[in-house]
């Protein structure tokens, strides 16, 4: 999986499905794709990438340094609008709010997600890297499990999984065989199935692309996200990402899910945290 297919499409599934078209001041149209569905819901990371792309089009800086999204109602495949409002434009960073809006069956406007983001230019950053963080210890992709390795019918295979080349660390997918470790850890290699290389926008999807840590805690079902924050710390190198998700505190109906994304150059490129409802 480390090398992209030579026939990688000029426009990847990810770029096509996160495309936004400007429609007047601070308004972008999007077409949410069912290709990123998890069961009946669209993946929160995919939706964050759509918001992130509209924000990039609206701000003078290209990269999401910090983005926080609060999820209000479940988005549906189909037309959507992203409305952005700039709070401040500075020399090195700029900040804006964004709202993802759709119309319900009765044609009434419903806000799906509200986000707040600070953008900058990752390529303009200089200075040393001093980190005590270590890439997750995982077997190579060929020794990890993909959805196709699961016993037929043992786990639901969400539509979104067809967009991804996801290889789960065997140590963190016992839940697929009815044996969750209870540690609340999920680790995986991730590439886009069509070979599209990772970039800061796709990292916003990647932080939410793995099975929930709840599975490893023995919790069934998908856990709706209340809030998801991502810090993009560096532009990812081409090649598969390593993603490690951890939940340390499940309490009174909520849990946090902390994520780290490492690129093929062993660099910590993104950190994420979400609050999800059990």
């Amino acid at each position: 999986m480390s090398d992209a297919p030579l026939d990688a499409p000029v426009t990847s599934e990810f770029d096509r499905d996160t495309a936004v078209r400007p429609r007047g001041q601070g308004v972008h149209e999007a077409q949410l794709s069912s290709g990123w569905a998890i069961g009946h819901a669209l993946n929160g990371g995919y939706l964050l990438s759509v918001l992130g792309r509209a924000l990039r089009e609206s701000l003078p800086h290209p990269d999401p340094f910090a983005i926080s999204a609060h999820y209000l109602t479940a988005s549906a495949a189909g037309p959507a609008e992203v409305r952005t409002e700039t709070a401040r434009t500075g020399r090195t960073v700029s900040t804006a709010s964004a709202a993802l809006v759709q119309r319900d069956a009765e044609g009434n406007e419903v806000e799906r997600i509200r986000a707040l983001a600070t953008y900058g230019d990752l390529d303009a950053l200089t200075g040393d890297v001093r980190t005590s963080a270590k890439p997750p210890a995982m077997p190579p992709p060929e020794h990890c499990f993909s959805a196709s390795d699961a016993p037929a019918g043992s786990v639901p295979v969400p539509e979104m999984s067809h967009r991804l080349d996801l290889r789960l660390d065997p140590e963190t997918c016992g839940w697929a065989l009815g044996e969750p470790s209870g540690r609340g850890e999920i680790r995986a290699w991730l590439s886009l199935a069509d070979g599209r290389a990772p970039d800061p926008l796709s990292l916003l999807m990647a932080v939410d692309a793995l099975p929930p840590t709840g599975f490893d805690l023995g919790l069934g079902g998908w856990l709706p996200t209340v809030e998801l924050s991502v810090h993009v710390r560096a532009r990812p190198a081409p090649g598969p990402l390593r993603i490690a998700l951890t939940t340390r505190n499940l309490a009174t109906g909520f849990l946090e899910e902390d994520g780290e994304i490492w690129d093929s150059a062993d660099r910590l490129v993104a950190q994420s945290r979400q609050l999800a409802r059990v």
Copy 2:
């Protein structure tokens, strides 16, 4: 420090300095106090508490479950306005944006902070607690260091420190003697100096009340916050808080600071993460 003075004021310094007065639909007036200054700047956690209080007044739910703030310009002591806009009001949670605005010397409006928050009712939460997180291993407060223990003039004592009873873990304050550990860890016991008990609003201040982890990494000066997110997971029990801050990744001019707050009942009551500029 574990017992509050019997003469604790009915209105604490914290409650007085975070007070907001409604002024029309979605607008609250505040008076930012220089008592929470760090050098020339007002503490970002104090400012978040002011925003959090205005949000509580504006929403049907009392407690900040998740709040994310992006810092735009440096706030100054004096009058300020908090403008809130509700995104959604649900049965169990509600979400709103907030902006902290001041006027500059020329009388022009300047936005200081933009925030996004989801509120709920911590007392309404039920269910079990399964956590692998452990309270920070620290000596008791009487074996920790307060600002008054530092050699005269060795470290600047910010005005805000007079509002707090802060006791630093000796293992994480070598920087005060010119010997930072390089681990990027700061741990401390924290109470409000006037004995006011912790609550969800004061936790928003507490996550940003310790010296920056940068000191323990050998970085001088205060590090301006770009973004600060807090999850309040439980209502804190009365008594001193234990706070542990950790930085794992300092890279190209930015670092993250992860925080955990534990209450006197050994419960993880808040988790925070900020992105700061070196």
